[in-house]
Amino acid sequence: MVMMMTGDAAVATVADGQRMAVHAPGAFHTPHWVYIAVFAALAVLTVLELSVNSTVSGKSLQVATLLSLMMAKALLVVLYYMHVRYESRVLRWAIFMPFFAAVFFTAVVMV
């Protein structure tokens, strides 16, 4: 069975328990345009990152902008290239929890 899921509506129609169909080999195809759009977005965001230090004034604003762009890029790869957007809720939480823990502990040691 080949399912094409193109957005929230399609995903929402699949109950969490049935998401396993996504993992059966050959069962799920991310639309090709999504891969290309993510690639283009990553390239554009990288160019924006490179221009931040010369266009944005103020060190703290520069850092905030760079970190936001970095998070956007990382999320794009994790959600679409690693297909986390289509994973079960449990796995999604399990993936993001270590990240939140890491950010929390980093903040603690920096203070």
């Binding site: 969490d16 328990g17 998401r19 396993m20 993992h23 080999p25 050959g26 799920f28 195809h29 991310t30 090709h32 891969y35 290309i36 690639f39 990553l42 390239a43 990288t46 990152e49 490179l50 931040v52 230090n53 520069q62 850092v63 760079l66 970190l67 762009l69 970095m70 890029k73 990382a74 790869v77 994790v78 290239y81 690693m82 297909h83 994973e87 079960s88 449990v90 796995l91 399990a94 993936i95 270590p98 990240f99 823990a101 890491a102 950010v103 502990f105 980093t106 040691v109 920096m110």
Partner: protein, 264 residues
């Protein structure tokens, strides 16, 4: 319960396939690495266990001519855990530990940096344009990796093989450029791992990432070999998906490192 728990027979069959050697390999490697930071005598114990495990692994093969069949075999189990295949779950568990490993490195470096007296401005020591080009190469390799998976999903073997090969080539280019960058920094700029906090945090963060890319290239060589031998098909290509998870993870780590180490 939706996730099928492996039965005792399945577990037994899986254990029989490889014996205790994968576990022995892991223990040996962990002991060896622990020894590197604790005491040399522990390193020797680890090396001995590792050597014993490798010999045991090879010994259970009746002959080297069976090695190819061993490398090309496809796991037949299709167990799931919470709706996700156990193989994929295993890779994710490995990646969870990797997230915390890199978080320790990056967080530690950040903590040292905010408490340091001075820190070079972006581009003052490091070559940002060269690394930006390298970043683009790694992003391209993520794109080629998903294209390879797409080829497998469509049953287009040629597409899959070509993009798998391209992904590995881009990985090699990335590591080569990083090696060139290291040489320039080490010899021309005089930035050494021992030349202060800046040097040591730079080399340890980017070095561990480069090591991960190198390990990914080795794994990709194996996946490429399997692909050329016809081990993947439209029906069975989980191996490529799992390879992709690791490869994209390494890309995500670089997204973090490039911004934090080079641009901020």
């Amino acid at each position: 319960m939706r996730g099928v728990t492996p039965t005792a027979e399945h577990a037994h069959a899986a254990a029989e396939a490889d014996g205790p050697w994968p576990m022995a390999l892991a223990l040996g490697f962990a002991t060896l690495l622990t020894g590197l930071v604790v005491h040399w005598s522990i390193t020797i114990v680890g090396a001995l266990v590792l050597g014993y495990a490798v010999l045991g692994y090879l010994h259970q093969l009746p002959g080297l001519h069976q090695l190819e069949g061993h490398l090309l075999r496809t796991p037949r189990d299709r167990h799931t855990l919470g709706g996700t295949s156990v193989r994929k779950m295993g890779v994710w568990m490995f990646l969870f530990s990797e997230i915390l490993f890199f978080a320790g490195l990056i967080g530690g470096a950040l903590a040292l940096r905010v408490k340091a007296d001075g820190w070079p401005e972006p581009g003052e020591v490091l070559n940002v344009p060269l690394t930006a080009a390298n970043t683009f190469i790694l992003i391209c390799s993520s794109m080629t990796m998903v294209e390879a998976l797409r080829g497998a999903q469509m049953g287009d073997v040629r597409h899959m093989r070509m993009f798998l090969l391209l992904t590995m080539a881009l990985g090699i280019v990335f590591v080569s450029i990083q090696a060139k960058e290291y040489m320039l920094l080490f010899f021309d700029e005089g930035l050494r791992p021992g030349s202060g906090l800046y040097g040591s945090t730079f080399y340890i963060q980017t070095g561990f990432h480069g090591g991960h890319v190198t390990a990914g290239i080795v794994a990709l060589a194996y996946v490429n070999y399997r692909a050329w031998k016809g081990a993947y098909s439209r029906e069975d290509h989980e191996g490529i998906e799992l390879m992709g998870l690791y490869w994209h993870f390494v890309d995500v780590v670089w997204i973090f490192l490039f911004t934090i180490v080079y641009l901020i």
